[in-house]
Amino acid sequence: MAKFEPVLFARIQKNDSQALAGYRADGGYAALKKALGMAPADVTTMVKDSALRGRGGAGFPCGLKWTFLPKDHPGPIYLAVNADESEPGTFNNRILMEEDPHQLLEGIAIACHAIKSNTAYIYLRYEYGRSYRVLDAAIKECYAAGLLGKNILGTGFNLDVHLHRGAAAYICGEETGLIESLEGKRAWPRIKPPFPAVEGLFRKPTIVNNVETLCCVTHIVYRGVEWFKSMGVPPDPNNPRDPGSYGPKLYCVSGHVNKPTCVELPMGVTARELIDEHAGGVWKGRKAKAVVPGGISMGFLSAAELDTPLDFAGPGKAGCLGLGTAAVVVVDDHTSMVEVLYNCCRFMSHESCGQCTPCREGTSWMTRILERIRTGNGKVEDLDLLMEVAGSMGIIPGTTICGLSDGAAWPVKNAIQKFRGEFEEFIRTGQKLRGPAEALMAAH
């Protein structure tokens, strides 16, 4: 196989990679020009044919989602760009925005042409101050160069792109939580259907797409469907519902590795290759005990499962929730899974929006049970109790409005199934863990 050349990250090492002049010198906005010469439906078909799947976590086929918009709608139709990136372990959207903002803006403009939208909002998490300033400058450059605003590139296409900053809440990444937040309300996810494509932002048809998804759109239009499908994993012939996992992917690797990194590779690299070949191996000469495959919501791979390919189907076959954000977090064999799981549960309990009782109470109870275990007061039966609570919350059992609670349940299910021996021994031998910040945390 020919050596893989990064595409999404091709420009990030360049000096001044953010500037419009450099972007154009590298062929930038040629894809937009090409797309504007095509009928919107043809652009959608192209994206559909590429089998591009959303990079934000759910992996929904992007072109297919665009076709769910009502036909011949009088407008307005909105594009909401999901730049809330808050899944622990995930940082690829940040690099894309900080280092190559025009690649994203070009993808946004192409998508808006395809879905017949004249207004896009970038919902950007507040913490990404640098992304905000870089994008703000890039948007201004585009208006000045006739790449945004009225009559773009003389084609009669109009588009406004607005930046909207969040306020530090994970739930704003859930697409309908994002919409509610953008509307100026509390970010309470909506009951679906209706899906946003039918009734979304300001009650109008809305497409929500992730930053990396939209950057892929730029390259699909520029390089073609065949290029995109030349890499990745084709559909499983035994599964008629599998659309495959094509294209390049930005994999984040963090935690106990020598060189934490974000690397672009064809879909389907294994966790082991990522850790050993791209992240310098597990730190301090240790071994991996557990690996988060795609943000903590997806659960854990055990050390025996590191050859799992990280395509959309791989992690599920190993009992994880899915590929998620493809953010790999490595936990070494000196670390207690009790502590790791407690950290995951505490996060989810903190971030649950509180609307659904099974999620609000379940995340809180799981955290309290783990608190009890880690302070030496747990019972072995607590592990079954954790499994029972985890099994009762989420979209999968049908008890909650959004997927946060499936993502809260999964690390618990995986940890207790795959590491039960360690939990039992911890409880039986009366071990205690008390982190350094503990006493202080209690005050908060």
Partner: protein, 156 residues
């Protein structure tokens, strides 16, 4: 005396055309006021509501959903220091870093130094996990931090 200066009001009015209705400007308005005042007072909420043609309770409801905004009984210091405690940072000393800063500044997370210089808080994943443990000072993130390096950032 109005809580919002004419300049602040003008800045809020300037974001309105971005949206098809005024309520959508709630978060931008709260950010503008919070940045300038380091908290959002009930009077400010009333004035924001007036501009956005909402009831004050609607603005307050949205504001308090986000743990982000402070009220006048506990205003934000000049610099807000958020220490990440989520998984990738916790695996590389994030909690020790927070504990060290608490110790150094004799503060608990959530508090502001008596001179109003810094507010110390824990944060959830800041999206800079390759630089764990990392710290956000206001909205600028600093990777691979230690107690001493954070102290230097803030003393500048």
């Amino acid at each position: 005396m109005p809580a919002l200066s004419p300049e602040l009001k003008k800045k809020i009015e300037e974001v309105l055309p971005k949206y098809p209705n005024k309520q959508a400007a709630t978060l931008p308005a709260l950010h503008l006021v919070h940045d300038a005042h380091r908290s959002v007072s009930p009077e400010a909420i009333r004035e924001i509501a007036q501009i956005l043609e909402l009831r004050p309770a609607e603005v307050y409801d949205t504001m308090t959903f986000y743990g982000f905004f402070r009220e006048p009984d506990n205003p934000m210091g000049k610099d807000r220091v958020w220490v990440c405690r989520s998984i990738s940072c916790a695996l590389r000393g994030g909690e020790e870093l927070l504990a060290g800063l608490c110790d150094k500044w004799s503060m608990h997370p959530g508090e502001t130094s008596p001179d109003g210089r810094v507010s110390l808080e824990y944060a959830e994943c800041l999206g800079v996990c390759e630089g764990a443990p990392c710290v956000l000072v206001n909205d600028e993130c600093y990777p691979n931090q230690t107690v001493d390096s954070v102290a230097k950032l803030v003393s500048k």
